[in-house]
Structures are given as C-alpha cells and as structure tokens.
Symmetry: C2
Subunit: 196 residues, 2 copies
DNA sequence: TCCAACATGTAAGGAGTTACATGATTTC
DNA sequence: GAAATCATGTAACTCCTTACATGTTGGA
C-alpha cells in the first residue's frame, strides 16, 4: 500500500458518519444529538456522550463541521455544529458506498437455546417467554411511532425513508413472535417427553 | 459495595461462557473451538483466537477448566480443555440467568435508508437489492443446514435445540426478504414521482 | 516447490460504554 | 430541599479483531 492510502480509506468511523447524517437534518449540539437518537435512529443505532463529543471535535478539525457557540446564561455554552459543504459530500459518498458493517450479530438468547440440554426445558422456556413479552411491547410501540410520524411529518420528504426503517422493525418483531410461538410448542413436546 | 463483590459478579464475559458451552459438547483445544464455531453457533456468535486463547487460560486459572497436553510430532502440542465440575455449574448458572445482552444491534443499512433523501432513490435501491441477494443465499444455506443436522444428529438429544436456533435464522431471513419486496416497491413509487 | 492445514500465543489498536467532574436552573 | 434538566467534556476500562511471530507436515 502506498503512503497516505490508509489514512484516506477509513478517515471516519461509522459512528461519525451517523452523526454527520443526523446533522444533515439540522444543526445541533452534542447534547441535542444524544437526545435525538432515541427518537430517530435509536432502534438500530446508539451513541454515547463519550463517543459524540470527541467525534464532533475530530470532524470539526477535519473541516467537515462548522462550530458556533451560543452563550448560555447560567448553563454551559451550547456548541452548535452544522455540516460544511465538504461534510455533506462526505455523507453522500458514504451513503452511496456499499454497506460494510457485516459483523455477526451476537445473540445471547440463541446461545442459551443452543446449549439448552444442559438445563431443564422449563429454563429455556422462561427465556423464550421473556422475549415474547418484549416483542409484544415493541410491536405496540411501532404502531405508535408510525401514527406519530405520519402526523408530525406528513409533508416531510424524508417520511417514506423513515417509515422504511420502522417497517424493518415490524417485520423483525413479527419474525420473533412467530419463532416464539413455534419454539414454545416444541418445548411443550420436550417437557411432555421428559415427564414420561 | 463490599470488597470482593465486584469480582464475583461478572467473573466471566459472555464470550467465555460461550466457550464453556462449546466445551460442554466435548473436550477441545483452542484451535478446535475456532474451527467448530462456524459450524455451530456461527450464525449468531463469533470468537477470534485473540479472544479464545486468553479466555482458556483465565478459566483454567479459575478452575473452571482442566487442561491436558497432547504431545504433537512436529506440530505444536495440543492443549485440550474440558469442563470441571465447577465449570459445568458456572455454565448452568448462566444458562438459567435472564438474558442480559440487550445492546442495540447496529445496522448500517438502516442508517443509510434513514438518510435516504440525501441521495437518489436509485442509490438506496442498490443497498436493498444487495440485502435481498444476501438473504436469498442465506435462505438456501438454512435448508442445507437443517438437512445435514437431521441426518448427522438424528439421535442426538441436542438436535431440537439446535434446530430452534436455525429456525430463528429462517424467520429472520424471511422477514428481511419481505421487507426488501415492500421497500423496493416503495422505491419504485419514489423514483416515478422524481421523474415527473 | 509452494501452499494449506495444524497449532499456540501475544501485542497493538479500534470502538464503544460507564463513571467521573462541574455547576446553575427549574420543578415538585 | 431534593431531584431532574441542561450542558460539556475526559479518563478509565471492556471487549474484541487484526496482525504478528513461529515452525512442521502433507498434498498438489
């Protein structure tokens, strides 16, 4: 590899690109970003302050962001960041590039199911039932999110894309619920067989 | 918190517990574990050598594992680890405890969809089509895994649990495919609207 | 003759979370 | 009077992956 190539390639982490994306919605402070995440990309992405503040600093140094300071009375100053032209290009370039993060999703529940014979079927059942309850709550949440989005962003051109991400959540939750149903039935059979 | 409590609480990482689980199948070396993972828990869990070897060392020091050395001719010695009684108890305790790892699964594709208005719908379509192709390959894989498991482990009491984990994979893949279909249709509409 | 497989291990680095530090204002 | 909110930032730590280091045997 030639000199400089490596520095160019992964100049930003995916966390930083996610922040670029959020700042394309409107200029925001680190605090704003943190608050916004649960209401926007929170179902498939998370960021902590320990990640956000250093990222904003780095991207400002790289001229991807502009920083403006708003004086706060009593409160600390607000540092409001907005995309520069170069930041917007960086964002578009990433959006066009193939999806890269293909690391295996670690699923502790499936791990416990896989080693299920080490404990009684009833113990595995508990985990599956917990998942079912959580999935049912999530399903109810989705309905609320869709209703809220359709009202609050009726004329927003971003609405169709936002609904697509919620829709993935819906399909995933339905898949989980279907799996729970089947798995609980299979556990019934295993428990029956154990008694005899 | 009193002295010692912290040390007790999280004595093992989930990675280490996963290795305990695999060693409950049969005694193995670090190399064996690494080879086995893609054929067993690979669809929902991954481990690298850099994680495996230090983990085996730590758990041996904590008397959860026994280590036996097999002399290799030419090759390095094989260090074969097996569960101690205390290791098996540790494993069972973890299997009975509630599932803990509930960190948000980070999904770069959904991030790109969420910020979709920043690029042309055609750019988003590319990502969705890639996902569809990958999901279709995965679906074909599942059929093969089920056939193989049912043959090779016909009388293995662990078979039902192993099939449950594959089944989750099937449901998830079907959810992805359904989402891709719907999303591609919606993108059709957005592209049409753009042309007019 | 070269490459893959066998086999163990360490070091460095990336990515991210949690806890800490600070302090005024508003709300119950 | 306590707690939550606003607001920024750093340090320490965890967890994990990749690259490096080493060396033999067997097959194409």
């Amino acid at each position: 590899m030639k000199a400089g190539e490596k520095a160019e390639k992964g100049r930003l982490t995916t966390s930083e690109r996610a922040l670029l994306g959020l700042l394309s919605l409107r200029p925001m402070s680190g605090y704003d970003l943190r608050q916004l995440i649960p209401q926007s990309i929170g179902h498939f992405w998370s960021e902590s302050y320990g990640q956000i503040y250093p990222s904003l600093k780095r991207m400002t140094a790289e001229k991807l962001l502009d920083k403006k300071t708003e004086r706060g009375k009593g409160r600390p100053d607000r540092h409001v960041y907005s995309l520069t032209e170069s930041g917007r290009e960086e964002l578009r370039g990433w959006l066009r590039a193939p999806v890269e993060l293909r690391n295996v999703a670690r699923n502790e529940l499936l791990l416990k199911v896989f080693f299920g014979t080490q404990v009684a079927p009833e113990e595995v059942r508990k985990h599956v039932e917990t998942l079912r309850e959580e999935a049912e709550l999530e399903r109810a949440e989705h309905a609320g999110i869709v209703r809220h989005l359709k009202k609050s962003s009726a004329n927003n051109p971003q609405l169709p894309y936002w609904l697509m991400t919620v829709n993935m959540g819906r399909h995933e939750v339905n898949a989980k619920l279907a799996w729970c149903r089947e798995t609980l039935q299979e556990l019934d059979r295993l428990e029956e067989r154990n008694k005899q």
